[in-house]
């Protein structure tokens, strides 16, 4: 399952950091952060619930870039 989320992030490098953090989160098959369109596309792994995974993704992203915002 794939879902797109709107995000707010200031710099291209921060977007890269967020992407790496999201990819390492459990339950995420693949994640792409598009700085240009300010969007995060998350592909969830089989058997994981999107809401719970996204909470974890949010936390992980805040850790690497406190200024970022993910609109769930």
């Amino acid at each position: 399952m794939k879902k797109t989320y709107k995000i707010e992030v200031d710099c291209a490098n921060c977007a890269n950091l967020m992407e790496n953090a999201a990819r390492k989160t459990e339950g995420v098959q693949n994640a792409t952060v598009n700085f240009m369109t300010q969007k995060m596309i998350v592909e969830f792994a089989e058997g994981f619930e999107a809401g719970a995974v996204m909470d974890a993704v949010c936390k992980a992203c805040k850790k690497v870039e406190p200024d970022c915002e993910i609109f769930l």
Partner: protein, 639 residues
């Protein structure tokens, strides 16, 4: 400006204002307060004022640095700034001296960050506005009224209305009306295209002049606009080597400078004490170490390099070239071999009358006889003859049409006997004819038993195709190769006309992969090979080549999926443009790396020697960052 930026700007202005006021009040002024309160009260009040100002401008940096330490991400720019300014603050407190430095450093850092965020946001918006082709609604007629519906709900085959100034939401064919279409969002082509009933309209095009009624041919999700947006948004962020280098570099670099700074603070004073028996001068060396820290902040690199690639991809998409990741931009800049598929890439892939030779009568006249003689046939050849003739055909003027299978036709047109067909027909009728040196399908025409010339019908090369090879060579490509399934003669002729270096003809799709693999072994390690193609059978070749370039508008979905770069308007001239963009982008990246590292190296030496102080440091950090960001944004603009 976003809310965040506005807030930050206020904080910067407020802190700068307070700082100026405090600077106008010298320390002695505060010392007078001692009389009214307790001894050294002035000193504490002065400190409190400066501290408040410091916190106004820097509290978020301190918080981030603290959070970073808690989260195990110790060495980032927030940490460097926090340590440097807190250190400078501490030194100033000890001496009741110059608090200006710590606050000014923080202030300049914040100004730099703000400026960077503003500039990046602005250019980001610039690009995303251009790429804004997502249609929000579709107009559907219901009775007399037009209602707006979600384009997702429109079924294939329904009629939608596109009003002047609106984007076509779904691909369709015009059933009523005519207009000029602005296709620039899709193709980067600024010239409007005139369309009328029967023409296809791709979603994302803007109708400029007239009201159009379209019969939709695709669902919204399958329409061009949706597909392109999907492509842009999913452009999986495959990182270029330069970006990887920077993130690896930062991981090693930051701890390295932190420990160097620590050494700079501790080692010289101890040496002075032990070896030279001099006073330690701790504060001097701690100050130098702090300066060293500020200088070494790697922001300029960390921020500007992803930004350069981002701007390069953005600038390319504005030109109608979609690049799927920054690694492809990097590979593209090193392209030395360009391999073309012929049909659909260099040529239009449709048959047209391409020449009339040895005509004994007017060309127009010759074409008229041929078109009339072939008028009853539905063969592609006769279609292209009729198209070239261009006028309405009056069937009553033709009689006694006789088709000779595999040879051609004979007929009576306007009372004269006309024969039109290939060599065999001429031989059969015993008419002597001129062989054609040109490749393609030849239609010989004889009127009243006398040879009057022949018409060449072949696939035509795209307009400007002959300029493609020179422009590629100018962009630094060493060799151009053409692969085709077409006959040897046709391939040779097209290659000669376009100036292509090597030709391989009569290839099956599997042979094309083999050929590309063979060419890959011939290229050196740093040189890259790009393959340009459009058809479904090109998909394996596209993925096999270092860089696969697909023709977007006409190309098949499979090819677009397999490709790394998509040319939206099918114009092969854009390849050279894309290479130029990538070169420029990589040049900017290189400039930024050299600029940042060399300025930092010089300033670090000065800082360690105690020349320049914090102000030099802040230039080396923020100044270089701003320069690098401005340079990176240059990638957006394409000549």
């Amino acid at each position: 400006m976003t809310k965040k930026q506005k807030k930050m700007l206020l904080r910067i202005l407020l802190a700068a204002g307070i700082l100026i006021v405090l600077q106008l009040l010298p320390a002695e002024r505060f010392d007078r307060l001692d009389k009214y309160l307790f001894s050294s009260a002035g000193r504490w009040i002065r400190l409190a004022c400066y501290l408040a100002d410091y916190l106004i401008i820097g509290h978020d940096i301190l918080k981030k640095a603290f959070k970073g330490i808690c989260n195990g991400q110790v060495f980032d720019e927030n940490f460097l700034m926090a340590v440097a300014t807190v250190g400078a603050m501490a030194l100033a407190i000890r001496e009741n001296g110059d608090y200006l430095e710590a606050i000014a450093v923080m202030l300049f850092y914040q100004i730099g960050e703000w400026f960077q965020s503003y500039a990046v946001g602005k250019s980001r918006k610039n690009i995303s506005d251009l790429m804004d082709i997502r249609p929000d609604y579709a107009n559907v007629e219901q009775g007399e009224k037009l209602i707006r519906v979600d384009p997702d709900e429109v079924e294939v085959g329904s009629i939608i209305v596109v009003q002047p100034g609106e984007k076509a939401p779904i691909d369709g064919v015009i059933v009523q009306g005519s207009s000029s279409l602005n296709t620039s969002a899709l193709t980067g082509e600024s010239l409007p295209r005139e369309v009328t009933v029967g023409d296809e309209v791709l979603s994302g095009c803007i109708s400029m002049t007239g009201v159009l009624k379209l019969r939709t041919t695709k669902e919204f999700g399958e329409s061009t606009a949706s597909k392109i947006l999907d492509l842009v948004e999913n452009a999986s962020s495959r990182k270029s080597k330069s970006e990887d280098f920077i993130s690896r570099f930062a991981r090693v670099y930051t701890p390295f400078v932190c420990f160097s700074a620590l050494l700079l603070a501790i080692l010289p004073p101890i040496l002075r004490l032990v070896v030279w028996q001099l006073p330690a001068a701790w504060s001097v060396w701690i100050y130098r170490a702090l300066t060293f820290l500020v200088i070494s902040c790697p922001c300029a690199l960390v921020i500007s390099i992803p930004l350069s690639f981002f701007a390069g991809i953005g600038g390319a998409s504005r030109e109608g070239v979609l690049v799927k990741g920054s690694n492809y931009l990097e590979s593209l800049s090193r392209t030395k071999y360009v391999v073309f598929d012929k049909t659909g890439t260099l040529t239009k892939g449709v048959f047209e009358v391409n020449g009339i030779h040895h005509a004994a009568i007017d060309n127009e006249e010759l074409l008229r006889y041929a078109a009339y003689a072939e008028s009853a046939s539905s063969h592609p050849i006769s279609k292209s003859l009729k198209k070239a003739y261009g006028k309405e055909i009056d069937r009553t003027r033709v009689s006694q049409i006789q088709e000779i299978g595999g040879n051609g036709v004979t007929a009576v047109v306007d009372g004269v006997q006309v024969a039109a067909g290939n060599d065999k027909l001429m031989q059969r009728l015993g008419i002597s004819y001129h062989e054609c040196h040109q490749a393609g399908t030849i239609v010989h025409v004889a009127v009243d038993g006398a040879y009057v010339g022949h018409i060449v019908i072949s696939d035509v090369v795209k307009p400007y195709a002959e300029k493609v090879v020179p422009s590629l060579k100018k962009a630094g490509v060493e060799k151009t190769v053409m692969l085709t399934g077409d006959s040897h003669k046709v391939a040779q002729q097209v290659a000669a006309a376009l100036g292509i270096d090597e030709v391989y003809s009569e290839l099956l799709p599997a042979n094309k992969v083999e050929k590309v693999e063979e060419l890959l072994t011939r290229t050196s390690k740093t040189a890259k090979l790009a393959f340009v193609g459009d058809g479904i059978n090109d998909a394996p070749v596209l993925s096999r080549a270092d860089i696969g370039i697909a023709m977007g508008a006409m190309g098949s979905d499979a090819a677009i999926e397999a490709a790394d770069i998509v040319l939206m308007d099918d114009d092969p001239m854009k390849i050279a443009k894309a290479i130029q963009i990538s070169r420029k982008c990589l040049r900017v990246v290189f400039q930024n790396i050299v600029l940042a590292l060399s300025v930092k190296a010089i300033c670090l030496t000065f800082g360690a020697l105690g020349i320049g102080g914090m102000y030099l440091a802040i230039f080396a950090d923020v100044g270089v960052m701003i320069l690098a960001v401005l340079n990176a944004i240059r990638c957006l603009f394409v000549r």
